[in-house]
């Protein structure tokens, strides 16, 4: 009896809070954030979409040209090359990172000595600026004295030696290698946290059932942390779809467009090429914006779907 009274009491308290909305306070709390959001995010997004339908030249009124930019875009082979490179990046790097990160996380989960030290060290690369990372790895890939070629020479693999960033066939894989270096530790830390938060009863039950370590891993632990893995894949996918800094520092999209990404191409068309028209790069950005959103929605949908099917 007294229980219900208390419940009712707290419930009504909750309702009081819910209904009481001091409009003045709410507006003043939200206003600064919303102003910044509207001025520096919402308005620029709308303006980009608007620009994409116009010819935008500095010091001249915008000229409405309808879908012309988009038609040109469709025929632009550099754009398609950039799309291809970016998609290759966005589809391979997340899987690579996850694969390595799971192995490393399991190693640390098995309570090897010095686990805390390893965790802190492995996480470090992600804290560095892309500019710093890019320059360091340009040196590592240097033909004459870079670590990669030095190590290959030491190992006697002379015919593997090449100019990693100067060769169109190895430039993109080299860059993917660098992003993997940066992000694996990050993914590992997240996975480790997920592993540590697994309910111990389930793991103990598996042990009682005489599960081998590998079986326990594959049938119990990995399925349980799957939501985290999928989240990380989406996060990494989005990150790679935006990749700009590293390419800009290391290769500027070259050699022969082999590392051009959509982001670098937008930048080039807007600020480097002397076309001066801002409308066309805006149409690239708009198309890419929609593709990224669609990709994220698709991935989330697919992953949800699989979850439903299996449970």
């Amino acid at each position: 009896m007294s229980d219900t009274v208390i419940k009712k009491g707290s419930f009504s308290l909750g309702v009081r809070r819910d209904l009481a909305w001091p409009i003045g306070a709410i507006v003043s709390f939200l206003l600064p954030a919303m102003l910044v959001y509207v001025a520096f995010t919402a308005y620029p997004v709308l303006r980009t979409l608007f620009n994409s339908l116009h010819q935008v030249l500095p010091g001249r009124p915008n000229v409405f040209i309808g879908a012309e930019n988009y038609i040109e875009l469709f025929k632009d082979e550099f754009f398609w090359q950039a799309v291809k490179n970016t998609l290759v990046w966005a589809c391979t790097a997340p899987l690579l990172e996850q694969f390595l990160a799971i192995l490393l996380a399991l190693a640390l989960y098995a309570k090897i000595p010095g686990a805390r030290f390893f965790r802190v060290v492995w996480f470090t690369p992600v804290l560095m600026s892309f500019v710093v990372v890019g320059i360091i790895w340009m040196w590592i890939f240097n033909y004459d004295w870079g670590a990669v070629n030095v190590i290959l020479r030491e190992l006697g693999l002379e015919n593997w030696i090449r100019s990693w960033l100067g060769d169109p066939s190895t430039a993109l894989p080299s860059l993917i290698f660098v992003t993997t270096w940066m992000w694996t530790g990050f993914n590992m830390v997240v996975l480790l946290a997920a592993l540590h938060s697994l309910p111990s009863e389930v793991l103990e039950a598996a042990e009682l059932d005489n599960c081998s370590w590998m079986k326990k891993l594959w049938f119990v632990m990995v399925p349980l942390i799957r939501p985290t893995i999928l989240n990380l894949i989406v996060l990494s996918f989005v990150g790679k779809m935006k990749v700009f800094d590293l390419v800009w520092i290391m290769t500027k999209g070259g050699p022969l467009w082999s590392t051009e990404t959509v982001s670098t191409y937008v930048y080039k068309r807007a600020f480097e090429w002397s076309t001066f028209d801002l409308g066309y790069p805006c149409s690239i950005a708009s198309v890419w914006f929609i593709i990224v959103l669609a990709g994220v929605l698709l991935l989330t949908f697919l992953f949800r779907q699989r979850g439903k099917l299996e449970y």
Binding site: F40, F123, L127, V131, Y267
Partner: protein
């Protein structure tokens, strides 16, 4: 036999982990060594320990290569942006977490969804807008852009924290006749100190390293932030490996110092968005 096998497995594991550690930490360690050596020494052998610590190189980069300017600009922009984004993000997060009002969900979702936006969708228009308002090529313009850029993640992290504060605290404050603002300052903010420090550290690191917005919105030599300065220096002094390495270390050291003191906080912050 099985003990032997276990030991052997153990050895393999240790080797693999050591190799990965060398891969993860090696490049940074190498740069820190090179930053203390002269270019001639490096040209002689890139992979040696410093014979003599040329600490003076840091002073030289600081004074002669404008690193003092870049560093000050970075500090100014990052401090201001982080302070503003923490304040207005905290206010918005408090509002989303503690009041129920019409459009609450819509507004929150609109703000939150920008996390996945590629920066290109705003950057060209931002360039135009800042030019029109006379904020192009100013640190103010860059700071405001950074505030907008980090706002969604800040609100997201803080909102989930504010929402978990027991409402008894708020009820008690209301009974004591606190105004809504006072509640924000005296209840929400102090209780949320752990989450606040997480966002502050996260935003500091991300903005310290930011490059794309800076490269588009800043061209003036005296307004460059550190990443821009390093890129420029790299372009000008392509051959002077030793000096470039010193410049890199100037950008790396603050991050490493923060990491040494707040490694757990920093890891928490960086991974906040990933674990739901």
């Amino acid at each position: 036999m099985s003990i032997f096998l276990r030991k052997w497995k153990h050895a393999v594991l240790i080797v693999v982990l050591s190799v990965y550690t060398a891969y993860a930490a090696g490049p940074l360690f190498w740069v820190s060594m090179m930053s203390l050596r002269t270019t001639t020494e490096i040209a002689h052998n890139p992979y040696a320990f410093p014979q003599k610590f040329h600490v003076g190189k840091f002073a030289e980069a600081w004074v002669n290569s404008n690193y003092s300017v870049y560093f000050t600009n970075s500090v100014k922009v990052v401090l201001c942006a982080v302070a503003i984004v923490t304040l207005i993000g905290g206010m918005a997060a408090h509002c989303f977490a503690r009041y129920r009002f019409p459009l609450r969900k819509v507004l929150y979702f609109t703000l939150f969804s920008t996390i996945i936006f590629p920066p290109q969708i705003t950057i060209i228009a931002l360039f135009q807008i800042l030019v029109e308002y006379g904020l192009y090529n100013t640190l103010t313009g860059l700071t405001l852009t950074y505030v907008a850029f980090q706002l969604p993640i800040t609100v997201y992290v803080l909102e989930s924290f504010f929402a978990r504060i027991p409402s008894d605290l708020y009820d008690a404050a209301r009974m004591d006749g606190y105004s809504e603002w006072r509640i924000f300052w005296k209840v929400s903010m102090p209780v949320a100190l752990p989450a606040l420090s997480t966002t502050v550290i996260l935003n500091t690191i991300l903005l310290w390293n930011e490059f794309l917005y800076a490269v588009v919105l800043i061209t003036d030599e005296t307004k460059r932030t550190l990443p821009l300065g390093i890129q420029k220096f790299m372009g000008d002094q392509l051959e002077d490996i030793g000096m470039i390495a010193t410049g890199l270390m100037i950008a790396i050291i603050p991050v490493v110092v923060i990491y040494i003191f707040f490694s757990e906080k920093l890891i928490q912050g960086m991974t906040a968005g990933a674990v739901k």
